[in-house]
Symmetry: C2
Subunit: 287 residues, 2 copies
């Protein structure tokens, strides 16, 4: 049986690890806070008190961490994955980090970058979209494991390509939330029935997942995450750096990055990214 | 049997009128160019040589015209709908025009503003999204007719509300095309497999109709309309005027309006609005 070491049992990693247990894998989990490890044990997994213990016997190591420095520390750091994993073990990094960090890691250890999209609900349902960069043979080896946590799983290119596609994903998601936010504040100002409007907008060429899943909560000013502003702000930093690196001009991407940064600067980093509506309302004097 | 006078048999109006014939309505059509009238006659409708002839016996008059001045001329002008329609006839204006013009017209004649979304294919399939403003009783009277041309038909408020929702629709559509364009040029610059990327982006929170229906053609630089840049530029003028009127700040809406205006200024007004990708490539020195 494939043995999996899972590091990072947060909002996304927790339900992903639980789905791997459900699919019959032997999962040993590690997280800095013990309570999240206990939750995995309740779900039928094993708990580890260190990275070393989580990865020592693993065929596949999965990391799901907040940012590039976290992944560098956990994978390459002293007492990290590289130091303790078996020869030939495959790292699947599901974190959203800088493409160049993914490429650096894949030069040191057999690794795929496999960031996900679909949010907490997608993680719970096992229906995540997973964009995978790395060698084709490693993708094939990882596929049965990824099938247990994802719905749409696509090999998009070599090392770092998964992160590049995830960056594009975060650009589109942030931009779409902002477009929906501008539209909803506009419709409210014109005293249009927003519930009816969301329904008809969703049915035409304007249709998107933000209208389907987030617009109703945005209208109600419900901004419990979900996906936090401070994480999306971090991701838009990755987007801008990667666009600059390739010499690509992204006018809307740059604008929405500024708006997300303003939300964070105003102390709303802990809110759901749907809070972009709050900012549009503020800018329009309609708070 | 309900008699319909249909004015404006272009890319959208032509197939809509044909669907009304198919649904059993008696449709008399008028268009400035005779060839489009002939096409309706071939489809089983009647042809008229003037607005007067098209609307004289109609219970319901439908207009599908390019812009606000066209609707004002056809409805309110000499020898127009108002001059020749029967007392109590209902005007359903499916054009995308300024909300204030719709409100003015509804003060002069029994009328609904009922702009549509879904493009040429939606018109052909009879699956348009229709956002209707006006009196509830008039909406009920129009519903059987709208059912023959649309899939999602929603009464969103009083006179002009349909146009306001359509403005929001055009804001979201233009913005989403631009977000997808920025992402595709970004992915191309990073040498990522765009076909695989489109598939995985469409499966997650970034999913939208532009990825589903237009991204593949955009990657291939196929910009045959579809919906022309010059019309979307006109619509974004309506969006900006209506946002300004309500005091609503729309940073992404304003930015994409500038980009669409640049495409038009460069002589690309006749291309499909997916040509925003062409502009992003140009701005990034990648033509």
């Amino acid at each position: 049986m494939t043995k999996i070491g899972f590091i990072g049992l947060g909002i996304m990693g927790g339900p992903m690890a639980a789905n791997l247990v459900k699919a019959g894998f032997e999962v040993t989990g590690y997280n800095r806070g013990r309570s999240k490890v206990d939750k995995l044990v309740e779900a039928g997994g094993r708990g580890a008190v260190s990275i070393a213990e989580a990865v020592r016997e693993a065929d596949i190591v999965i990391t799901m961490l907040p940012d590039s420095p976290d992944v560098e520390a956990v994978v390459l750091g002293e007492d990290g994955v590289l130091a303790h994993a078996r020869e030939g073990a495959l790292l699947i990094d599901c974190s959203t980090i800088r493409p160049d960090v993914s490429r650096e890691i894949s030069g040191r250890i057999r690794a795929l970058d496999a960031p996900v999209s679909g949010g907490e609900q997608g993680a719970i349902d096992g229906s995540l979209s997973i964009m995978v960069g790395g060698e084709a043979a490693d993708f094939e080896a990882a596929k049965p494991v990824l099938d247990a946590v994802g719905g749409t799983i696509v090999h998009v290119g070599g090392p770092g390509a998964g992160q590049t596609v995830k960056a594009a994903n975060q650009l589109i998601v942030a931009g779409t939330i902002e477009l929906v936010a501008e539209s909803l504040v506009f419709l409210e100002a014109h005293e249009v029935d927003t519930e009816a409007a969301i329904k008809v907008l969703a049915g035409g060429l304007a249709g998107n997942r933000i209208l389907d899943r987030k617009a109703a909560a945005m209208v109600k000013r419900e901004f419990t995450p979900g996906f936090r502003v401070e994480l999306h702000d971090k991701d838009l930093g990755i987007v801008q750096a990667a666009a600059r690196e390739a010499g690509v001009v992204i006018p809307l991407g740059a604008a929405v990055a500024q708006l997300m940064a303003s939300l964070k600067a105003q102390g709303h980093g802990g809110l759901d990214h749907g809070a972009l509506l709050k900012l549009v309302a503020q800018l329009s004097g309609r708070e």
